[in-house]
């Protein structure tokens, strides 16, 4: 499998490491003080443990650790391994932005 890193170009997957489904969003809780919102635990449980695990197209997080250290969002088909799109994570390439 080859991933077309938006910063480095097409590279072999050996340069990347995999995290998984990019769909789950980390719940944002204003966690001030000892008491957490009662639904927080349920929301985090879903975020950390439950997966749609689709047989087909899936947006997933890959890390280009062997290259530019950018986190990428790759849209890939889990049945065929064909990659449709590769986008940088929202904060990837920030070094340029800050410059």
């Amino acid at each position: 499998m080859r991933i077309n890193c938006p910063f480095c170009g097409e590279r072999e997957i050996g340069e990347f490491s995999y995290l998984g489904d990019a769909a789950p969003r980390r719940p944002a809780y204003a966690a001030e003080g000892p008491e957490l919102a009662p639904e927080a635990e349920e929301a985090f449980f879903d975020f950390v443990y439950l997966r749609d695990n689709p047989a087909g197209e899936m947006r997933e997080h890959w890390y280009h650790g062997g290259g530019c250290r950018a986190w990428l969002v790759v849209t890939r088909n889990t049945l065929t391994h064909e990659i449709r799109t590769t986008e940088p994570a929202p904060g990837a390439g920030a070094s340029e932005r800050a410059a």
Binding site: E12, Y18, F45, R51, N53, E60
Partner: protein, 416 residues
């Protein structure tokens, strides 16, 4: 008719024209007490134990293709009970005890061969981790020995002691571990279950669940609707897919695990060997092929085929550990789809949906679990309560935090 050398001789006289089918080619009835989805080792073993141990004989096993066509037919045939955590220790030992009497239980030679497994260690820390595991086994009455390098050199003189990147210091040995002939296990359970009246229905894919006020009352299949008091799913690799039909979302991802077999060669390896400094484990089949594997490919997949980097990684491990296999040729590479659970351990439990039971999350350890998985799932289906040895394999353990994480890597399936 029992299998034996006598029956073999008798049939030889009639030129083997009169052998009966190993199992009937059953067609679905309207209704069963229990419908088991999945004609793999676990599903068939479940049906066998339901019929033999719990008197539940009105049972159907539904297989979308041919029985044993999933991971039961795509594994490296290793059986062992060298686990280190409560929940796993007792369960896998129960499985080992069932392996030890399987041929008699099933009247089928599944070639259970207890030639031992050695997990090699390459550092003091790894030695202590194996010691912790081995001691936990001994506390639970399971055989385990810690070998130093001298003992190892006697048993495995061909390992790379001289030029190892990571020194081979010793290993954790379980002598009762070994291998079994994976396909035979499937056929043996199928035949034994069939003889007890279980219907084994191939080419019958479940396409949905029939539900009445929230409870499952049957399944829709490519061969029509089939009613059931209880439905158990044993479809590891595709658990998420089937569970979704019942509106369930699981703590599971599907990943590909590769396995490899070499050309057949004369006996070279005694038992099962696992490399502690790389991803490589190996045994030699009775036919002579080296059967080996390593790490999962590492990303969600249902493709049932392996990638090249992992094939190279596994062969590098093999060459690093025993460079004598260099000129032996790799004959076949294949990939199976694993249920990788969020803590690396399985699930045998009720589901939030009434009458629907789940057997899933076996990661790459499903084969060795086959007999105990069948017994415990049958116990759950028949009595509606967990078998004592499977009482920690609960679906809600992730919510509560009662994880069984042998590797201690947390909720990232591709690291287990």
């Amino acid at each position: 008719m029992n299998y034996s050398v006598f029956s073999l001789a008798k049939h030889a006289l009639s030129k083997h024209q009169r052998w009966p089918r190993a199992w009937r080619n059953a067609s679905p009835k309207k209704h069963y007490d229990v419908v088991v989805i999945g004609g793999g080792g676990h599903g068939l073993a479940t049906a066998f134990h339901l019929a033999r141990d719990f008197g539940v004989r009105n049972v159907a096993v539904l297989e979308k293709g041919w029985i044993g066509g999933g991971n039961a037919g795509r594994n490296t045939t290793i059986i062992r009970s060298n686990y280190g955590l409560p929940g796993n220790i007792g369960f896998y030992e129960l499985s080992m005890k069932l392996w030890e009497r399987q041929e008699q239980d099933l009247n089928y030679n599944t070639m259970v061969s207890q030639r031992g497994i050695i997990n090699l260690y390459h550092s003091d820390g790894q030695r202590d981790a194996y010691a912790r595991r081995g001691n936990a086994m001994r506390i639970n009455g399971i055989d385990a020995e810690l070998l130093d390098q001298n003992q190892l050199r006697k048993m495995l003189p061909f390992l790379n002691y001289a030029h190892a990147r990571f020194p081979v210091m010793g290993g954790l040995l379980q002598s009762r571990a070994g291998t079994a002939r994976h396909d035979a296990v499937v056929w043996g359970y199928a035949r034994a279950a069939d003889r007890l009246g279980v219907d084994i229905i191939q080419n019958c894919e479940v396409t949905g669940f029939v539900r009445e006020n929230g409870r499952v009352t049957g399944v829709e299949t490519t061969r029509g609707e089939i009613g059931a008091e209880k439905v158990g799913m044993a479809v590891a690799g595709h658990s998420s897919h089937v569970a979704r039909m019942a509106g369930l979302k699981l703590p599971i991802e599907s990943h590909v695990l590769q396995a490899f077999v070499s050309e057949a060669i004369k006996p070279l390896l005694p038992g099962v060997l696992t490399f502690g400094a790389g991803h490589f484990y190996v045994s030699q089949s009775d036919k002579g092929g080296l059967v080996f594997g390593g790490d999962i490919d590492g990303y969600n997949s249902y493709a049932q085929r392996g990638n090249m980097p992992v094939m190279e990684d596994v062969c590098e491990g093999g060459m690093a550990l025993m460079p004598m296999i260099g000129r032996v040729r790799l004959l076949r590479q294949w990939g199976g789809v694993m249920d990788m659970s969020m803590d690396g351990s399985p699930i045998i439990d009720r589901t939030p949906v009434g009458n629907l039971y789940i057997n899933a999350g076996w990661c790459y350890g499903g084969f060795k679990a086959t007999p105990a998985s069948g017994l415990c799932f049958a116990h759950l289906l028949a009595k509606d309560e967990s078998h004592p040895e499977a009482s920690l394999f609960r679906l809600d353990r992730f919510r509560r935090g009662a994880l069984i994480d042998e590797k201690g890597v947390g909720a990232q399936p591709n690291l287990h």
